[in-house]
């Protein structure tokens, strides 16, 4: 029995109530424990990554009930990677939130943050479809709190929209799970895989409905067109460090698609043929297009970053939707890249927002313009998939993996076209925000852009700016490391893909061969 598997869930689950109960009135201690928790999560994630790298699939049967009757957690390479990404993202984000003082602008930031981590890691680790729903809800409700953290009219209105749309998604999740259970009589994902293969032809219509509804649920989370509409306003109006953390949440959707549609409704399952890739690929391409167009058209830096997140999800999902080992390996590499890149862009956007407001118009220069401009340049390079950062490698991987697909020319054209529009858009924004501010003509005018609907009375600005910058540099370093060590990284993602496309190992590990 390997208790490490549940550690990433239990740690925040215990830490958060502790923060609420004992440290409610001690901000500094909250910070210490929150950071310590994130570091702890990182350590746990590292352990899990090391354990998973052997290729052995480990399970953890909660309540000691055998699968498929109880809930089971599964540690394979994919879940280890995703938990690792979460931990690697969490630390810089929480440091930034502390450094920027965002955590003081409302109550319970750190507790909600820990709960959010619990939800995300739980979703990555669980091997039970309904338990996945529960963790989705945990991460969502924590995200509702984080999204509206600090209040403010616009943010709250955006919050209503965010919650509404996600509640629709959660409802759909239940419809899907109900349908699947009603046909197959099970909830365990490995068991589902076994049973789906055995489904008699008289039940395929209903099973297909369940499969497609589930896909749509994940597509909402992953912000796939036409289910992505919730994202721009939500992310742009969330506290931007929170939006940075949300970079991992869209990945939860992508992860779930990968997991469910390789393990249960894999590309070889005849029953659900023609349901996934057929529409996901065009939808993903449109997602990328909409994201890129949004970047070019954005008037506000938060929104620009949000569309950046959408565009990167588009690229990612193009790779996912191909459902080949090569493409999946590429998708996973791109996942890591896009998590850091999107987070970085949001944090930089926050730095800009805090100093001069988010409008993409020239204004007098802000504090630390040079440094922020440089980091913006880096994040833009990453987001646009320009060399030398991992985005370019990821893009090449995706395109290379698409070589053998029928529509490869279209895919390439969309990816390259998307990159082009993104480049133009980011260059435009950067030039207006950072360069044009030096133009005497504009400095003179000094139109103080009043943000009419800002968060109420922003607390002391940036208590530890050094910490904020440090956390940004951590993300940059992450991107750099992902680039430099692209070889080992792609090897690992290749291993994940190999594991995903051999679902029998997973099934055997979970069901211990009992059901075979």
């Amino acid at each position: 029995m390997n208790h490490w598997i549940i550690a990433p869930i239990v740690l925040p689950a215990i830490l958060a109530p502790f923060i609420i109960m004992v440290l409610r009135h001690h901000l500094d201690l909250q910070r210490v424990f929150s950071v310590a928790g994130s570091v702890g999560l990182l350590a746990i994630a590292a352990t899990l990554l090391a354990q998973a790298s052997t290729g052995e699939i480990q399970t953890y049967e909660l309540g000691n009930w055998p699968a498929p009757f109880g809930i089971v957690l599964v540690l394979d390479r994919l879940s280890a990677l995703m938990v690792g990404l979460t931990a690697m993202l969490a630390l810089p984000v929480v440091l930034y939130a502390i450094g920027s003082g965002w955590d003081t602008r409302g109550q319970h930031f750190h507790a909600l943050f820990q709960f959010q981590l619990m939800g995300v890691t739980g979703a990555f680790l669980t091997g039970d479809a309904f338990n996945l729903f529960v963790f989705f809800e945990v991460l969502l409700i924590a995200s509702y709190g984080l999204m509206t953290h600090g209040g403010g009219a616009v943010r709250l209105k955006a919050g209503v929209q965010y919650v509404t749309f996600n509640l629709l998604g959660s409802t759909l999740f239940l419809f899907a799970l109900g349908t699947l259970y009603a046909v197959t009589g099970t909830l365990n994902m490995a068991d589902l895989a076994v049973r789906v293969a055995e489904i008699p032809p008289e039940d395929t219509a209903l099973l297909r409905v369940g499969a497609v509804l589930l896909l749509l649920v994940f597509a909402i989370k992953a912000a796939v067109l036409p289910l992505h509409f919730w994202l721009p306003a939500s992310y742009a109006n969330a506290p931007l460090p929170v939006a940075a953390l949300f970079a991992i949440m869209t990945k939860v959707g992508a992860y779930s698609i990968l997991r469910v549609y390789t393990l249960i409704f894999g590309p070889d399952v005849a029953t659900t043929e023609g349901l996934v890739g057929d529409w996901l690929l065009p939808a993903a391409m449109l997602t990328l297009a909409v994201g890129a167009i949004g970047i070019l058209g954005a008037r506000q830096i938060g929104r620009l970053a949000a569309f950046g997140a959408i565009a990167s999800m588009g690229t990612l999902l193009i790779a996912v939707s191909l459902f080949t080992p090569e493409a999946t390996a590429a998708a996973l590499y791109y996942t890591a890249h896009s998590t850091f890149a999107a987070a970085l862009l949001f944090l930089i956007a926050d730095m800009v927002m805090e100093r001069r407001g988010g409008a993409i118009i020239p204004q007098s220069p802000m504090a630390q313009t040079g440094l922020i401009a440089s980091i913006f340049f880096v994040s833009a390079i990453a987001m646009a998939g320009m060399p030398p950062l991992s985005g370019f490698v990821g893009k090449l991987l995706v395109m290379d993996a698409a070589r053998h697909v029928d529509h490869y020319a279209t895919i390439w054209a969309v990816i390259l076209g998307g990159s082009f529009v993104t480049i133009v858009g980011l260059a435009r924004a950067g030039s207006l925000i950072f360069w044009k501010s030096h133009d005497p003509a504009y400095v003179q005018a000094e139109v103080v852009n009043e943000e009419p609907e800002e968060a109420p009375a922003p607390a002391a600005p940036e208590p530890y700016p050094g910490l904020a910058f440090a956390s940004v540099f951590v993300l940059v370093a992450g991107l750099a490391a992902l680039t430099i060590f692209a070889g080992p990284a792609t090897k690992y993602t290749g291993g994940i893909a190999a594991q995903l496309f051999a679902p029998q190992d997973y099934i055997t590990a979970v069901l211990k061969g009992e059901k075979e």
């Binding site: 529960v134 709250l156 209105k157 209503v160 929209q161 009419p452």
Partner: protein, 116 residues
């Protein structure tokens, strides 16, 4: 019976969706509540309908039990959607008090983005 049940689920879903498509927060919340009823009923019925067969074990006689699992799932779902509803009510109220309007739409702020 099944027809009654299914049609009720359908009516609740339709009404819920219709209200969710309104443009004020309050009807949307009402719609979400209705939709929650619908989905809970849906999920419950995936264990198939049964009369007088509650899944409470009876030591004295051999009786049929209905499928307990969907019931447990619905219980979880009810609780979760309760939490969600509470949160959206609160956010909607806060949004209303902060902006003095309960329009659910969030038109793009007219921020002047200037091009070169």
């Amino acid at each position: 019976m099944e027809a009654l049940f299914a049609s009720a689920v359908g009516v609740l879903t339709a009404a819920g969706i219709f209200l969710i498509l309104r443009r004020r927060t309050f009807p949307v919340i009402l719609g979400l509540s209705l939709l929650t009823y619908a989905v809970n009923a849906f999920l419950f019925a995936t264990g198939r309908l049964a009369l007088n067969a509650p899944p409470v074990l009876n030591n004295y006689k051999e009786v049929a039990y209905t499928d307990p699992l969907p019931q447990a799932l619905v219980l979880t779902a009810i609780v979760i959607s309760f939490g969600m509803t509470a949160v959206i009510v609160m956010i909607a109220l806060s949004a209303y008090l902060s902006s003095k309007t309960d329009h659910i739409d969030l038109p793009l702020a007219e921020e002047a983005g200037e091009d070169e």
